[in-house]
Symmetry: C2
Subunit: 444 residues, 2 copies
C-alpha cells in the first residue's frame, strides 16, 4: 500500500566529519535496526569524507570508510544520499551541485549556504528530480522547518519571534547569571565548543538573521535580503546593561522577529528587553525557543538545544530518515519556497514602533539630565522611567581632575525607531555624553 | 518527480460539526487556495453530518452540504477522507470502521477512541490499505504525534513529561492565581467552553492518562493499560494545597510522566509539585507543554493551546493535508505502533522513588506532631520541612467545644510510594487526624 521510496538499502555519504558529522555517523553505525524501522529500509553509511585523514575524531569507523577524496562519495553509484556538513559557502556549494547532478538527494545543516544559494540549489534539485532537506539549518534539534511546512500547514503564519542563536544565548546567560564580562563569556563559550575560534557570525547577529530569513521565506513565501532589516548582535553589549535590565524587571535576549502587521512585514534581529516571566525570557544557555503565531492554531512554542552537536545530528538524521522513507520527496515540492506570492513589503526601519531602553554614559555635571530629556522631549519621545545611580565616591588623594562618568538609564514609552535615531544623533552631540551609547528595543 | 497521491481533488466528509468540526469546515471553505498549495491538490468539503439539522452552528455551509444522514458521507464514492469528530466510543467506532471498509482514509481527534480501539482500528486500516491520522488526539494544536514519529525519529525517546489536559491546567491556574475555589474554577472553565457539562474525564486524570498511553505506545512501542499506573486527578485538591505549595516555592500541575529508568517504565499521572522557574511550572491556562528526552537530541519542549477549538482544528486540518499530499500513507506504516518490541515492564507503583508533599488536617492538641512524625520516622521517611500555621483564634463567645483543626504540611525527603502508603495507613488511624489527607509527589 505504501508509496515509499522502496525497501532496498539507501547508501549514505557524509562530507565533513566534525562534531555533527561524527554524531550522524554514530547513529547510523550504532543503530542500524532503529534506522531501518523508522525509514522502512536500511540506511547504510558508505563513506565519510575528511580533509585530514590523520586527525582523530572521537569515533571509530570501519576500515576503508574514511577518505579524503570527495569523488569517492560523489561518483559512487551506490550512494543515493549525500550529507553536506563542512559548512561555509565554498566548496560546500560545488559539492551539493555535483551531488544533485549525479542523481543524489542532499541533506545539509548549512544555514549560510541555504541563505545564500538556497534558491538556486533548490531549483537545481527540482530540475534533477532530487531533493534537499535542511531541518538542521535552523534551531538544530528543534523541528521548526518541518513544523512550519507540515504540522502548521493549516495556518497562515502571522508572526515568528525567536531566540535562534545558541552561542549568543549562552554568552548572555553567563553574563547575566554569573556576572561574567562579555569577553570572558565568549571565551567560556569557545572552551565549551559552543563558539567558533572566530565567533563573529554568531555574536554580530548574522547567524540568527540567516535563520530568520529562511524561516520567513518558508512562513510567508517572501524572501528578504539581510540588508533589508535591522540586524544587531550582542557584541556591543556590556555586563552593566544586562544588570540594569534585570533591575528594571527584564531579561535581554538576542530576539529575531518577523511578523505581518497591516500588510507589512516587521522584521529585525536585535538584543531586546523581554519582561521577566514572559516565555521568551526564560530560555537560557544554548537553548533556542521559537514562538509561532498561526491564524488557526493561535500561539505555539518549540524549544531545544540550538547549538549542541548531538542536537544538530538528531535533525540531520531525521532528514536522512525522511529522505529514505520518501517523505522528503513529497514535502520538498510543497515547501512555500516555490509559491512566491506577492512579496510582502518590509516595514521601513524608521517606522518600527516600540519602547526603548537607553543607556548614556554621561559626565556627572549639572543640567546633564535636563539636556538629554529635553532632546527626547522635543522628538516627541516620552520617558517612562529614569535610573541614575550615584557616581562612585571621588578619591580625594588622586590628583586626577577628571569628572566622574555615570550611566544614565532611560526607559521610554512607545515611539518610532526614526524618532529615536534622530534623538540619538542629537544626544551624541552633547559634550557631556561619552561612548558607548546603548539602545535596545523592549518587546511587548 | 513526486509520488504524491495524485492531483485530483480529495473529497472530505466531516462527521460531527461541533466547535472543532466548524473550525475545520471554516478552514476548508475559506482557504481553498491555501489547502491546494499545501496539499498539492484541491481538498474539497462535500458533506458535514450532524445529529440535529435545526441547531445553529456559527458557520454557514453552502446549500445541501449539511445532512443528518451519515450514509451520505460513508456511501459517497467522491468522498476519499472521513473526519470523525463526534467523540466518545460509539457510534464513533462503527463510523470509522465503515469508512475504512468503504475505502476511505480517516482523520480523528478522538483520544478515547484511539486509546480504547486504536490497535484494532489501525489493523483494519492496514488490511484495507487505508490510513488513520490522529495528531489532534494528543495536545490539540501542538504537533507532538508528528514530532515523535518523524522529527525525533533519530532518537530512542527515554522520557516524556507533560501537562496534557488543558481543562485541568486552566482550573489549577484560576485557583492558584485568582484564589478561586475548585468548584468555582470548574464552573468558569465550563462557561469558557473549556470543560464539558460533565468534566469528570478531564479532572479525574483519565483524559491525560489516555493521551499519555498513546504517546507511550508511539515513543516506546509498548502499550500500557490504564490500570497499570497511578492515575490521580485534580478533583481531590483544595485551594489551600495550591497556596501552601506556593509558599514552599512550588507550583502544582497535573503532570503526566513516562520514562525508562534501568529498563523499567516509570509511568504516572498525578497533581505534582514542580519547583517555581522549572519550564513545566510556567505553563498556564489551557496551554499544554510536552517535554521529550531523546538519546540523541537531548531535551526538547513543545507548547501550545491544549483545549482550544481552533487549536484542535489546526491539527485536524494538518492531518487532512498530510493525507491529501500522501504523507500519511508513508507515515502510517512506520509508526512505532507496529513494531511491538519486548514490552517494557512497568515499575510497580510501590517502588516509585520521589519526594512528597503531605497535608494532614489535625486536631490542634499536644503530641500531635510527634505522633505523625514518629510514624514517618519508623517507615524510614525523612522529613525535609514542616509547616504548621497557627490555629484560628478561638471564639470565646461560641459555646462550641470543638477543638480547632489545623493543617500540618510536611515535605519529605526522597522515599518510596510503598513506604509512603504504609505510613499513610498508620497516620489515618490516629484519632486526631481528619479528612482529607493530601499526598502529592514532588518532581525532580
Amino acid at each position: 500500500m505504501t508509496e515509499s521510496a522502496g525497501t532496498e538499502p539507501l547508501g549514505v555519504g557524509i562530507i565533513g566529519l566534525g562534531t555533527v558529522g561524527s554524531g550522524v555517523a554514530r547513529v547510523l553505525l550504532e543503530h542500524p535496526e532503529r534506522m531501518q524501522r523508522r525509514a522502512g529500509r536500511p540506511v547504510v553509511l558508505r563513506k565519510a569524507v575528511v580533509r585530514d585523514l590523520s586527525r582523530s575524531r572521537g569515533i571509530e569507523l570501519p576500515a576503508g570508510m574514511l577518505t579524503d577524496q570527495v569523488d569517492e562519495v560523489l561518483n559512487d553509484p551506490e550512494t543515493g544520499l549525500v550529507v553536506e556538513l563542512i559548512g561555509g559557502l565554498s566548496p560546500a556549494r560545488e559539492f551539493v551541485e555535483r551531488a544533485l547532478k549525479a542523481g543524489k538527494d542532499v541533506v545539509t545543516a548549512n544555514k549560510a549556504l541555504i541563505y545564500e544559494h538556497g534558491d538556486a540549489l533548490c531549483a537545481l534539485a527540482r530540475e534533477q528530480g532530487k531533493t534537499i532537506a535542511f531541518e538542521a539549518a535552523v534551531a538544530a534539534g528543534v523541528p521548526i522547518i518541518g513544523s512550519v511546512g507540515q504540522a502548521l500547514a493549516a495556518n497562515q503564519i502571522t508572526g515568528i519571534e525567536a531566540v535562534l542563536n545558541g552561542t549568543s544565548n549562552f554568552i548572555l546567560t553567563e553574563m547575566s547569571h554569573n556576572g561574567l564580562p562579555y569577553d570572558a563569556a565568549v571565551q567560556l563559550a569557545q572552551e565549551r565548543g559552543y563558539a567558533e575560534a572566530d565567533p563573529s557570525m554568531d555574536v554580530d547577529g548574522t547567524d540568527a538573521a540567516h535563520k530568520l530569513v529562511i524561516l520567513t521565506q518558508l512562513a510567508f513565501g517572501t524572501r528578504v535580503p539581510l540588508d533589508a532589516f535591522i540586524r544587531q548582535g550582542i557584541d556591543t553589549l556590556e555586563l552593566a546593561d544586562l544588570q540594569y535590565a534585570r533591575e528594571l524587571g527584564y531579561r535581554v535576549k538576542l530576539l529575531a522577529v518577523a511578523r505581518i502587521r497591516n500588510g507589512l512585514l516587521e522584521m529585525h534581529v536585535e538584543p531586546t528587553l523581554i519582561r521577566r516571566g514572559h516565555p521568551m525570557s526564560t530560555i537560557e544557555d544554548v537553548y533556542n525557543r521559537i514562538q509561532i503565531d498561526g491564524d488557526v492554531v493561535g500561539r505555539v512554542w518549540f524549544s531545544g538545544m540550538g547549538a549542541g552537536q548531538a542536537a544538530t545530528a538528531s535533525a540531520v538524521v531525521a532528514d536522512l530518515i525522511d529522505t529514505a522513507s520518501g517523505r522528503t520527496r513529497l514535502n520538498f515540492p510543497l515547501l512555500d519556497l516555490w509559491h512566491q506570492r506577492e512579496p510582502v513589503p518590509v516595514l521601513p526601519a524608521d517606522e518600527l514602533s516600540r519602547r526603548y531602553y537607553l543607556r548614556y554614559n554621561v559626565i556627572d555635571r549639572p543640567h546633564m539630565m535636563a539636556d538629554v530629556t529635553d532632546i527626547l522631549g522635543r522628538q516627541g519621545i516620552s520617558i517612562a522611567s529614569v535610573m541614575q545611580h550615584e557616581a562612585p565616591e571621588i578619591d580625594c588623594t588622586s590628583d586626577s581632575d577628571e569628572e566622574p562618568i555615570v550611566p544614565l538609564v532611560i526607559m521610554t514609552h512607545r515611539t518610532t525607531e526614526g524618532q529615536m535615531r534622530s534623538a540619538d544623533r542629537e544626544i551624541a552631540q552633547l559634550q557631556a555624553v561619552r561612548m558607548p551609547r546603548v539602545r535596545m528595543p523592549v518587546d511587548g
